[in-house]
């Protein structure tokens, strides 16, 4: 124990805390904050070019970033123990909202995703479950000695699958997959045995035909088919992918220059300021710009995983590690979609795409991570 204690003291980044004394008092992690600012700052630069209204859209996004930073600051102040205590209640509230959505939810485009409760702003419970599931699974597994045994694993899978099923029923396959993945990520970090991982990958592979036959809607199948052969309908469903790849490819090594992207400025590229903003960046700043951004994302994730491994409690470790992996998953899904490696699903590029909810949720998540990192006790309970 004493050895453990010494090690913890040694790893405790006092030098960092000392160097940024005010930062440590604000419970902020300077490295993570620097990386986030670089990404969001670069995002605003690209957004200026991608948006049609010049500064207006940049100001609007900057405002959202400001709100997100306040949320981050707030969540960083809370003791991780608080999150742990609230986890089951948050989860339950989330499940309840999902049921309410199915019963009374407001629909858009054939799917019921929004819940408008009296006295509360309209919100998507499925979005909240992106945080709710990792919190709950971390809470559950943190009470056990790890690696978990089979029964707890099955229970953790159940905790993940329940909201997943409710979200599929809305139907919103994309969000459901991400929510389920967040639960699986926590399970992986908790030490799910490699045998079981292999088994689950195999089961996942086998379930694809079932998904195709029974779960996926026609428009979803169309997106997959389009990915496999974008030329089949170049003006219809394949348009986004074709134009996005054209924008990326024509950018070359150095890009066409800021504001010089013809694909985006001549409206060939749809959704250039939201889901496809990476294509704008690739066109105007080239391979160099894209690589820089992807490296920044990787550094963010690595920093987060480092924070996770330094965490003092099992709950903190699992939660912050899970959030790090989820963040990376968003990045991969969006980048793969924009570059034509995955079907078109509506996932924005984290911290860069124009849009409010996404950026506030993400920054709140980083606030939790910072809280984990900066609220330390000398001894474990």
């Amino acid at each position: 124990m004493s050895h453990e204690f010494v090690r913890q003291i040694a790893f405790e980044p006092d030098h960092l805390n000392r160097r940024g004394g005010w930062m440590s008092r604000l419970h902020l992690d300077p490295w993570l904050l620097l990386l986030l600012f670089l990404i969001m700052g670069g995002g605003l630069v690209v957004l200026y070019s991608a948006g049609e209204n010049g500064m207006a859209i940049v100001q609007s996004q900057a405002l959202r970033i400001g709100v997100g930073l306040l949320a981050m600051l707030f969540f960083a102040q809370l003791d991780p123990m608080l999150y742990r205590r609230w986890s089951p209640w948050l989860y339950l509230a989330g499940i309840l909202s999902l049921v309410l959505v199915l019963l009374f939810g407001a629909g858009a485009q054939g799917a019921q995703r929004w819940l408008a409760l009296p006295g509360l702003p309209r919100f998507q419970p499925s979005e909240a479950m992106k945080l709710g599931v990792p919190l709950m699974v971390s809470w559950f597994l943190a009470q056990l000695s790890l690696p978990p045994r089979l029964l707890p694993i099955l229970m953790a899978l159940g905790l993940t699958a329940l909201p997943g099923a409710l979200i599929i029923a809305q139907p919103d396959l994309g969000t459901a997959v991400l929510v389920i993945a967040s639960g699986l990520a926590v399970l992986f970090l908790a030490g799910l045995s490699w045998k079981l991982i292999m088994l689950m990958v195999a089961a996942g592979g086998a379930s694809i035909p079932m998904l195709w036959l029974f779960v996926m809607r026609d428009y979803q199948k169309e997106r997959v088919l389009t990915l496999l052969n974008p030329g089949s309908d170049p003006l219809g469903a394949g348009w986004n992918i074709t134009q996005s790849k054209t924008a990326i490819g024509s950018g070359g090594l150095h890009g066409k220059g800021w504001g010089e992207g013809t694909q985006s400025h001549l409206d060939f590229l749809p959704e250039g300021h939201t889901d496809f903003i990476l294509a704008v960046l690739a066109e105007e700043f080239g391979f160099v710009g894209v690589t820089l951004l992807l490296v920044l994302y990787a550094l963010v994730v690595i920093r987060c995983l480092y924070i996770a491994s330094m965490a003092q409690t099992s709950f903190s470790r699992l939660l912050s590690g899970g959030l790090a992996i989820i963040f990376f998953m968003y990045v991969v899904v969006n980048v793969a979609m924009v570059s034509g490696l995955m079907p078109v699903v509506g996932v924005p590029l984290p911290l860069v795409s124009f849009g409010g909810t996404s950026i506030v949720t993400l920054l709140a998540g980083f606030g939790i991570l910072m809280a984990v990192h900066t609220h330390r006790r000398m001894l474990e309970s």
Binding site: E4, Q143, L144, S145, L146, P147, F188, L189, A190, G191, Q243, K245, T246, A247, I248, G249, S250, G251, G252, L253, T262, Q263, L266, D267, F268, A282, G286, F287, V290, T291, L294, V295, Y297, A298, V301, I302, L305, Y306, A308, S309, S314, R317, L318, G321, A324, I325, F328, V332, V335, A336, S339, L341, E380
Partner: protein, 628 residues
């Protein structure tokens, strides 16, 4: 808190750190895969996507030249280009054309005829993404309404185009002709490259004859377009060379005088300056408003013009072939004198008819009781048929044809008149060739008074009379007076190519011309009724052209009576001693030349010699579609 087992926290931490390490490896690998994907797209396939991107945005667009203007001899604009705002549709960008047309019709009025034309144009061959016009002549209010609704009308554009406009459309219908949309027939005869971007082409008249000069040369521009095909900026441009402006010999004032002189009657007038061959007026009535043809005439309006009994589309001045009747007598007289068939003083007794020698066949004079003793001079003044029957019989068809050919009968004499017909100058050789029949003496007799097989156009009558007026000099009739630009008009239209008609004695010209003066000024001249008030000497000759048959169709009794009447003819020039103007007049079913055609001719020569009384007013309607 725990489920009963003792926890080994350091072991759990190490497990977590191992898993984190695996996750970091996966993150690095995945990042590598994604970077690899971008390396493939941006470095390896860069060329391919650059090509696609440029093809997306850059388009080569032809820039049509501005069509040359047409002026009359006094610089009055006869054909101009006016900017017209039209509503066009790019069919490639429309998914449901019927629905779109319905929506457009909710916003602006589109007559059914326009929709019909639009659908026809859709079926025609055209360049991809070329806008197809649906409605022309948008008003300001309509443009504003469309602009407001444009976001909900994909593929709909408003376009300012220069559209040909004829301020005197009805007056100049048969001279200038008109331009129209390039149809498939036109497309075959033109250079597609030179006409890339050009929408209109000369269809008839001057517009057709001088198409090459009026059209100009096409320019090009590389433009950057957005995803909806809208031009964002011009990258590179080579300007077109505009078409050349033409100045015609035509005097629009004289054209109007001639037009009004004919009034509601069907007929034609051609006026020539005998010193140059320049066509001062060329009228065929009824005319039609050529502006309707520019943007595409509706089926109904066209059928109405085409099927009208009055045949307004028919250019009587250049394509109407009529027996020239007695109007050729002065020229035949010269032929008789030149061939020594007759002499100036020889007297022939006219009993009112001519009996073919060795035959019982009798040819009647138009005046039953005859003119008694007549010289050749009298025969012209009184228009004695008998005298000319006899002379024609003696000369024979071959010899008459030889002489008349010098004046220009039986051939196309003009240089730049579109689709002029040559008429028929009959001869024994011609009859054998065309009808495979021998020439009878009776054919010669009929030819002597310009009947039988003989056919001529009003333009030809003016041209041949012009040779007479200028005492044998032959200037081919022409419209073009001056062309702006590098090519002088004389290069396009070589001047006199034919040697003058020569007579054995110069006095023969004056003898015949004096007789023609007495046709008008003499107390017994057939056109003496127009002489009162004439302040200059006018030489003329009346003629009557027999109507042989009616072409099919059913007419009511009155119509038959009207349309069976003879055509009235008159040829004239003035002043007789030094002619400034030659006129030929045809009035279909006008009866006698003296009563109907001669007064018309005098109105024209009066205006030319004494000046124009009124200020000209534009006749055509401002918007061609307004009165449909």
């Amino acid at each position: 808190m725990s489920w009963g087992t003792l926890r080994n926290t350091s072991q759990e931490r190490e497990l977590f750190q191992r898993r984190s390490f695996v996750a970091i490896i996966v993150v690095i690998l995945m990042t590598g895969v994604l970077i690899g994907r971008f390396y493939y797209l941006q470095i390896i396939e860069h060329e391919t996507y650059t090509t696609i991107s440029d093809r997306n945005r850059v388009q080569v667009q032809p820039v049509p030249p501005t069509r040359g203007l047409i002026y009359d001899r006094n610089g009055v604009l006869l054909a101009e280009n006016r900017p017209v705002f039209s509503l066009t549709v790019i069919p490639e960008q429309v998914s449901d054309m019927d629905a779109l047309i319905g929506e457009i019709r909710d916003i602006v009025d589109v007559p059914p005829g326009d929709v019909e034309n639009f659908r026809e144009r859709l079926d025609e061959r055209r360049r991809p993404f070329e806008p197809v016009p649906l409605r022309y002549h948008l008003t300001e209010a309509e443009m504003a309404r469309l602009a407001v609704n444009r976001h909900s009308l994909p593929g709909v554009e408003m376009e300012a185009r220069l559209v040909r406009y004829y301020p005197y459309g009805r007056l100049t219908s048969h001279v200038l002709g008109y331009v129209g949309r390039i149809n498939e027939q036109d497309a075959r005869r033109i250079d597609q490259v030179a006409y890339a971007g050009t929408h209109y082409i000369g269809k008839t008249g001057i517009e057709r004859v001088y198409e090459k000069e009026l059209h100009g040369e096409v320019g090009y521009q590389n433009v950057e377009t957005n995803a909806r095909g809208r031009v964002m900026r011009v990258l590179e441009r080579e300007d077109p060379s505009p078409g050349q402006d033409l100045t015609l010999n035509l005097d629009i004032r004289l054209q109007q005088v001639a037009h009004e002189a004919l009034g509601d009657r069907r007929g034609a007038i051609v006026a020539i300056n005998p010193e140059t061959g320049g066509l001062l007026a060329q009228v065929s009535t009824p005319g039609f408003d050529t502006n309707k043809f520019v943007t595409g005439i509706g089926h109904e309006s066209y059928a109405e013009l085409r099927d009208s009994l009055d045949k307004p589309l028919f250019n009587r001045a250049t394509r109407g072939q009529y027996p020239p009747g007695s109007t050729i007598k002065p020229m035949l007289a010269l032929a008789g004198l030149a061939s020594d068939t007759v002499t100036q003083s020889e007297i022939v007794y006219d009993p009112g008819y001519y009996e073919l020698p060795n035959s019982s066949q009798v040819f009647r004079n138009w005046k039953r009781q005859g003119h008694g003793d007549t010289t050749l001079y009298d025969a012209i003044v009184l228009s004695s048929d008998t005298y000319f029957y006899k002379m024609a019989y003696e000369m024979g068809g071959g010899m008459m044809a030889d002489y008349l050919e010098h004046f220009g009968f039986g051939t196309v004499t003009s240089l730049d008149v579109r689709d002029e017909l040559p008429g028929i100058l009959p001869s024994p050789e011609w009859k054998r060739r065309v009808h495979n029949e021998p020439w009878y003496p009776g054919d010669s007799v009929n030819m002597g008074i310009g009947q039988g097989y003989f056919l001529s156009t009003p333009l030809q009558l003016a041209a041949t009379t012009s040779v007479l007026a200028s005492r044998g000099e032959r200037h081919a009739p022409r419209h073009l007076r001056y062309i702006e630009g590098d090519i002088p008009a004389r290069h396009l239209l070589p001047d006199v190519v034919r040697p003058p008609v020569e007579m054995a004695s110069e006095s023969d010209w004056e003898y015949v011309i004096n007789a023609m003066e007495d046709v008008v000024h003499g107390s017994e001249g057939t056109a003496r009724r127009i002489s009162p008030g004439l302040n200059y000497r006018m030489a003329g000759k009346t003629g009557t052209s027999q109507v042989f048959s009616l072409e099919g169709e059913e007419y009511d009794e009155d119509e038959i009576a009207k349309r069976m009447r003879d055509h009235a003819l008159f040829v004239a020039f003035a002043p007789a001693d030094d002619p400034e103007i030659v006129v030929s007049v045809l009035v279909e079913n006008g009866g006698s030349g003296s009563a109907t055609a001669a007064p018309v001719a005098r109105q024209v020569t009066d205006a030319w010699i004494n000046g124009f009384p009124e200020v000209l007013t534009e006749q055509a309607v401002p918007g061609a579609m307004d009165d449909e």
